[in-house]
């Protein structure tokens, strides 16, 4: 074989491997999409071609499943978590980025470390406390504990964005007599806005997909979508067509959001360890 031929063969092998990998990656997702449009008869067969129906999507919103309530809970919980987290994180991130603080490294490591504490350790005391003060099965309770998981991501991610904004504009404005708070409001926030939105979307996805806290803290009124998946068990086992329809409702909006911020996804997850 000549060098050129070898290169062609090697290229074909690579393309084949990429195709196989893509196929494996997409199959479970596509299969859920298909199953969501199947009737409860078709879903128990390995059919690729079938007459699609939208019935599952209306059934999941009806009694007894009432997925609409879970959708509402998920949206409120994730949204309010983000509304609290982003301003608090932005203030901290600005300070970490622009000033030298006493114990700065310790604080940053602590913030980083809280992300790695198993959720199950955090939730035990909260369960006891919420039981005593009546916050079990409330959206407010869920929002409070969700802050625990999104804050570290938000702080580190926004710090990364502010680090990237040059300081000279700020300094010039200070020389012209602006106060530090004016500088933050008039200069830094507008420049950091795309970064803040990215961090907000990232945190929204994390809060939306959160499972363990909601499993332990809610049972009826504040149940979120991922916990709602457990509803679709019939007498003969799982109702796969309904589960799949609910699955689409959970994942499709997150796919759209994730694609919007795809360039920053890695940076967010690794908290700046990899850029």
């Amino acid at each position: 074989m000549t060098g050129k031929q070898r290169k062609q063969v090697w290229n074909a092998v690579q393309l084949t491997l990429i195709m196989i990998a893509t196929f494996i990656m997409l199959v479970p997702i596509v299969w859920i999409f298909l199953a969501a449009f199947k009737t409860h008869v078709d879903v128990y067969q390995l059919k690729l071609f079938f007459t699609p129906t939208l019935e599952n999507f209306s059934t999941v919103f009806d009694d007894p499943y009432r997925l609409g309530e879970k959708l509402f809970n998920s949206t409120i919980v994730a949204l309010v978590t983000v509304i609290f987290a982003i301003p608090i994180a932005t203030c901290a991130a600005y300070s970490f980025s622009r000033f030298r603080l006493r114990g700065e490294t310790t604080m940053l490591v602590m913030i980083l470390a809280t992300q790695f504490v198993p959720a199950v350790v955090i939730i035990l005391p909260f369960f006891v406390m919420f039981r005593d003060v009546g916050l079990l099965d409330t959206r407010l309770g869920l929002i409070l504990v969700n802050l625990a998981i999104v804050m570290p991501f938000a702080i580190w991610m926004i710090k990364g964005f502010i680090d990237g904004i040059p300081m000279d504009t700020e300094e010039a404005a200070m020389v012209d007599g602006s106060s530090r708070l004016q500088v933050i409001w008039n200069i830094v926030l507008p420049m950091a806005a795309p970064g803040l939105l990215t961090a907000a979307i990232f945190c929204f996805i994390i809060a939306w997909n959160e499972f363990l806290f909601a499993l332990i803290l809610t049972n009826k009124n504040a149940v979120t979508l991922p916990i709602g998946l457990a509803l679709f068990k019939g007498e003969e086992g799982d109702l796969w067509n309904l589960l799949s329809a609910a699955g689409i409702i959970i994942m499709a909006p997150m796919f759209v959001l994730a694609l919007l911020i795809r360039k920053y996804f890695v940076q967010g997850m690794t908290m700046g360890a990899v850029r």
């Binding site: 893509t22 390995l46 622009r98 980083l112 198993p118 035990l124 369960f127 625990a148 363990l212 997150m254």
Partner: protein, 290 residues
């Protein structure tokens, strides 16, 4: 306000939130782990018994050691497989171009999927009667046709590992592609001009340069593997028996189902110890970078 005061005022709310949502629960868990701690017995949450919960876990509970073993094997397998496969995929996709960038974009999808949903979808795929993967394995390896995957301890464990690896490969691949992109191309080109084979270039140039990113990826994945809960809960709920009961699941079961919150807190604290070590390693990489 002077900058010197302002800088501390700005971090205060965040520090308070982190304290209330992470440091306090950690301390409170430590306290609970020293109590009788039964959810249904008022007063037992303040009834101290020293380290009895810990010695109970170590010496009286084989199910504790079972979940340590399950979590250990699960972590080793998922970290190893995910890293290797993601490295392979990253090398395949790194050159760029239309097709490869397109696939890179798709990689985001599994990662945006709720882990609980990944668990559900794998339970669906491995259903012995109408599961797609079950049908596939039945064709490739006929002895596995119509096996009740999730009823067999070993196979159920294997399915959990597969679901985990499937869910994490995309993220690790994206990180490694980023790492590959930051390796200077001229050294590689120089080696190629000198006639070095593809394998030599990979082993002697790419791999050493990728080292730090690889380390970050392995530490991060180890942390997430050790914590695994959502998928297992939806996929096997720890079963059959306790064959797939990870530590998180064991803690959840003892604390929430049996109401032994003191005992659960002690096991939870035992789990925090390897986390502290991993976090220390991770922080070292993060701060070397900045």
């Amino acid at each position: 306000m002077r900058d010197n005061t302002l800088k501390y005022v700005l971090v205060l709310p965040a520090v308070l939130v982190v304290f209330a949502t992470a440091i306090w629960p950690l301390m409170e868990s430590a306290r609970l782990s020293a109590t009788v701690g039964r959810l249904n017995r008022p007063g037992s949450l303040d009834q101290y018994i020293g380290l009895e919960n810990y010695t109970w876990a170590f010496f009286e509970e084989p199910s504790f050691w079972n979940s340590v073993w399950v979590t250990g094997v699960y972590t080793l397998l998922t970290v190893g497989l995910t890293t290797l496969l993601a490295l392979g995929l990253a090398l395949l996709l790194a050159p760029g171009g239309r097709l490869r960038s397109g696939v890179q974009t798709l990689l985001i999808l599994p990662f945006a999927m709720s882990p609980a949903l990944i668990g559900v979808s794998f339970r669906f795929m491995f259903n012995p009667e109408f599961g797609l993967f079950d049908a596939f394995f039945g064709v490739v390896m006929p002895p596995l046709a119509d096996v009740s995957w999730l009823a067999d301890p070993t196979l159920a464990f294997a399915v959990c590992v597969m679901a985990d690896v499937w869910g994490w490969i995309p993220f690790l691949t994206l990180v490694l592609i980023g790492g590959l992109a930051s390796i200077p191309q001229d050294t590689i080109e120089a080696a190629q001009v000198d006639g070095a084979s593809g394998w030599r270039v990979f082993r002697d140039i790419t791999l050493p340069q990728l080292g730090p990113v690889l380390a970050v990826v392995i530490i991060l994945k180890s942390i997430f593997s050790l914590k695994t809960f959502d998928q297992i809960f939806m996929l096997t709920n720890g079963g059959p028996g306790t064959a797939t009961q990870t530590l998180s699941h064991y803690i959840y079961f003892n604390g929430m189902k049996y109401g032994q919150i003191g005992y659960a807190a002690s096991v939870a604290w035992l789990m925090v110890i390897p986390m502290i070590l991993l976090t220390y390693l991770y922080a070292k990489y993060v701060f070397r970078k900045n």
